[in-house]
């Protein structure tokens, strides 16, 4: 071939010119109460990565509180390691960013990296003219199954109403939040099953609410009422507790939103303690590390089910792309809170608005396939 006939590389050199962290905060219309704690204000960081190719990528960092601390980590520690570098060398950047602080990998650093990493994948997709789902060379789903989150740990009347609303909106899988006391949890489990009927898939999330002994009892109620998983029954560090619970119940166990890295996910995946791994892409090191987690899970026949929770539209959309690509994807969380982080930040409506019959379509534009509304970002930025 002559040089003229050589195929032109789709992705040429793209140099990172700036990394900007936007700390965003919102006051919730109604405080969210889980076993883990009560939230009245929540935050996130939107990460903007600019390049000399005129392409800007966006990412999201899970930063429920103290978002200025995260912004400082991104702009002081990560930005100097990226500016002037080739944007598409994502794995190299990941390793360099991880070494910005010593100690075991985890915590705020990895959440900060997640925001940058997602933005780099957005850039790569835009440069290649492909949605991230396609870039990942995956199984090519055009739409993905979602479940509604969540019937909250509120009184029976309110819980019944939330359940009816989800069913009316066409969701056929629904998550129910669970907490103490145990007898009340067991009654709730039975009540929701009766009201939902057998045609609706139900699962439970306890947000670390129980001791092992309590979890065994709750798991019994879940198995008796045909729930499809029991999520975060115990605190995430108690791996021996998870193994013991696995031994004593048949209800599938799910966890993963508390993990930052594949190292943390590994023990409960390789021992088949978990049936479902649920990383949050805005916490678990972005698309790069979350994909590695899903691959590890697949190697052990464990399913992948993205966690979204109170995160924003970038987290959700990055998760949709991973869901479309990963072979062992089972179902994605569709948080129905309609927070400004989900409904106001981009030209793409969140899953809770777009969902039809419990499925959401995968964006087809390059990269994440969304455009950020920078006026909305400015309105939500922490002063």
């Amino acid at each position: 071939m002559t040089p003229q006939e050589m195929p032109r590389p789709v992705v040429g050199p793209i140099t990172i010119t700036d990394v900007i962290a936007h700390p965003l905060t919102q006051t919730l219309p109604k405080p969210t109460v889980t076993s883990w704690g009560a939230y009245t204000d929540v935050s996130m960081v939107l990460v903007e990565v600019r390049t000399d190719a005129g392409i800007t990528g966006v990412g999201e960092t899970l930063a429920r509180f103290a978002p200025r601390a995260y912004a400082e980590i991104i702009e002081t520690l990560l930005k100097p390691r990226l500016v002037g570098r080739e944007a598409s060398d994502i794995a190299a950047h990941w390793n360099v960013m991880r070494r910005a602080l010593s100690g075991r990998a985890g915590g705020m650093l990895i959440e900060a990296i997640a925001g940058v990493d997602i933005a780099l994948w957005d850039i790569l997709g835009k440069a290649a003219g492909l949605p991230i789902a396609a870039l990942l060379g995956g199984v090519g789903r055009r739409e993905i199954d979602v479940y509604a989150a969540a019937v909250n740990w509120v009184d029976d009347g309110e819980a019944d109403e939330e359940l009816a609303r989800y069913i009316e909106r066409g969701f056929n899988r629904i998550k129910v939040k669970m907490a103490r006391p145990v007898p009340e949890a067991c009654r709730r489990i039975e009540r929701i099953r009766q009201r939902a009927g057998d045609g609706i898939g139900l699962c439970v999330d306890a947000n670390w609410g129980y001791t092992l002994d309590e979890a065994v009892v709750v798991a019994g109620a879940l198995a008796a009422n045909g729930y499809f998983w029991f999520e975060e029954p115990l605190r995430p560090e108690d791996e021996a507790g998870y193994r013991e619970l696995r031994r004593r119940t048949n209800v599938p166990l799910a966890a993963g939103e508390s993990n930052y890295t594949v190292d943390q996910a590994r023990p409960l995946v390789e021992s088949r303690t978990l049936s479902v791994l649920q990383p949050d892409v805005a916490r678990a090191g972005g698309i790069t590390e979350t994909r590695r987690m899903a691959l590890l899970a697949d190697a052990y026949d464990v399913a992948y089910a993205p966690h979204i929770g109170m995160s924003g539209i970038v987290c959700e959309t990055a998760s949709v792309h991973l869901s479309a690509a990963m072979p062992n994807f089972r179902v994605m969380e569709c948080e129905t809170d309609a927070s400004p982080f989900k409904v106001a930040l981009a030209d793409l409506a969140p899953g809770c608005v777009r969902a039809k019959n419990g499925t959401v379509s995968v964006p087809t534009g390059p990269g994440l396939g969304l455009e950020i509304d920078w006026d909305a970002v400015a309105r939500l930025t922490v002063r």
């Binding site: 883990w36 704690g37 899970l62 429920r64 509180f65 103290a66 200025r68 601390a69 995260y70 400082e72 980590i73 002081t76 520690l77 070494r99 910005a100 602080l101 010593s102 100690g103 075991r104 990998a105 985890g106 915590g107 705020m108 650093l109 990895i110 959440e111 995430p236 560090e237 108690d238 939103e257 508390s258 993990n259 930052y260 890295t261 190292d263 943390q264 916490r283």
Partner: protein, 375 residues
């Protein structure tokens, strides 16, 4: 006479301190030319002042934001002496597995609360812990750097001249050079000196097996952080293939992270840094957990400041399974002149350091100097 009922926390102030190093510090992990810490000052309405320190090598302002925005609001107005309750509340300031910047940040607050508790009781922290009754603690000199041979020889001679009988040698890649260094330093120091090696995650498992053999052949006391800290299977495999004792722990934030390699006997010595691993509360739990498994405790200090060093001395004086404390000898503005006590590097005599005997940490911080360094 018991403790007074209440010392209400009135104020928590966090100071980001940065110093440029006169000589960049080079380890297998990376090169530093400037490092930071965060100092925390907790004041009660009874007029007690506690001092704490966070390991915050870089981006100290991020730690300060976190302390101000997420930790202080949980503690202001509470009784300073309910330390375990505060620890749990601070750990829950962020979700996700415990670890990282959050635990380093809360370490400073925890140490300051112990300082206050000791002052409220009028006893030093090591006594407050109902400990082993030790006041003198053996230390080792840290470290013979991974520089050229001549500089390494010079460091050995200097440490010997200053009376240290134990010293740590930094090693890295390539492996053949590390093996030569291990032998050279043993020959230079003689057989009476206790030597250990620290490789700061430098090696793959195969490389570590080779280096471990050289350490065995030259009678080194331990091999520290041969592999990256997350590779627990690697540590267990290395343990099965060498007789040199393995040590690690400075990379752990919590007891949960320390547990596996202690409980299965892979580590012979656990080395938490009190300004990273949750302060005195969590580090003490780690030290005691190690003791339950016949594993020794040896505090890590590295580039940390005077509060870290002194808090480590209290823990080493109190915990029965304490073996030896790291005594870092490089000039360090976070140790020299930040308090009314000289750093261990200046106080050590014949490889021994005395733990301060005053109430709390037993030192007074020069808060003006702290303010100067936090510009």
């Amino acid at each position: 006479m018991g403790l007074p009922d209440c010392h209400t926390i009135r104020e928590i102030r966090a100071y980001p301190l940065t110093q440029r190093l006169s000589r960049p510090s080079q380890t297998s992990w990376g090169t530093y030319d400037a490092v930071s810490i965060v100092m925390v000052k907790v004041t009660t309405d009874t007029g007690l002042v506690g001092a704490g320190e966070s390991l915050a090598r870089f981006a100290p302002s991020a730690y300060v934001h976190l302390i101000n925005d997420a930790l202080a609001p949980r503690l202001i107005g509470r009784d300073a002496t309910a330390i375990a309750a505060h620890w749990n509340a601070m750990r829950r300031a962020l979700s996700g597995r415990a670890g990282g910047v959050l635990v380093e940040a809360l370490s400073a607050v925890d140490i300051a609360l112990w300082d206050i508790l000791g002052k409220a009781a009028g006893v030093p922290i090591y006594r407050l812990m109902g400990g082993a009754g030790r006041t003198d603690v053996p230390v080792y000199a840290a470290s013979v750097g991974w520089a050229d041979d001549a500089a390494a020889d010079e460091a050995v001679d200097d440490f010997l001249a200053r009376g240290f009988t134990r010293m740590k040698v930094k090693i890295g890649n390539p492996v053949d050079r590390a093996c030569r260094r291990i032998e050279r330093i043993r020959a230079r120091a003689g057989d009476a000196v206790t030597l250990s090696a620290d490789s700061n995650w430098a090696y793959s498992l195969d490389e570590a097996v080779t280096v471990a053999a050289a350490l065995e052949a030259n009678g080194y006391e331990w091999f520290e952080e041969p592999l990256r800290p997350e590779d627990e299977n690697g540590y267990a495999a290395l343990k099965a293939r060498t007789t040199v004792p393995l040590t690690a722990g400075e990379s752990n934030f919590t007891l949960d992270q320390a547990r596996t390699l202690v409980a299965n006997g892979t580590l012979s010595v656990l080395q938490p840094n009190v300004t990273r691993s949750g302060g005195i509360s969590e580090t003490r739990r780690m030290g005691e957990f190690a003791g339950m498994h016949d594993v020794a405790y040896a505090p890590h200090n590295g580039m940390s400041g005077i509060v870290c060093e002194v808090a480590s001395l209290h823990l080493a004086a109190a915990l029965p399974n304490a073996r030896v404390v790291e005594c870092a000898l490089a000039p360090n503005a976070f140790r020299d002149g930040l308090a009314d006590i000289a750093p261990g590097s200046a106080r050590a005599k014949d490889g021994i350091l005395t733990c301060p005997a005053g109430p709390g940490l037993g030192i007074e911080i020069d808060w003006n100097r702290v303010a100067e360094l936090s510009q």
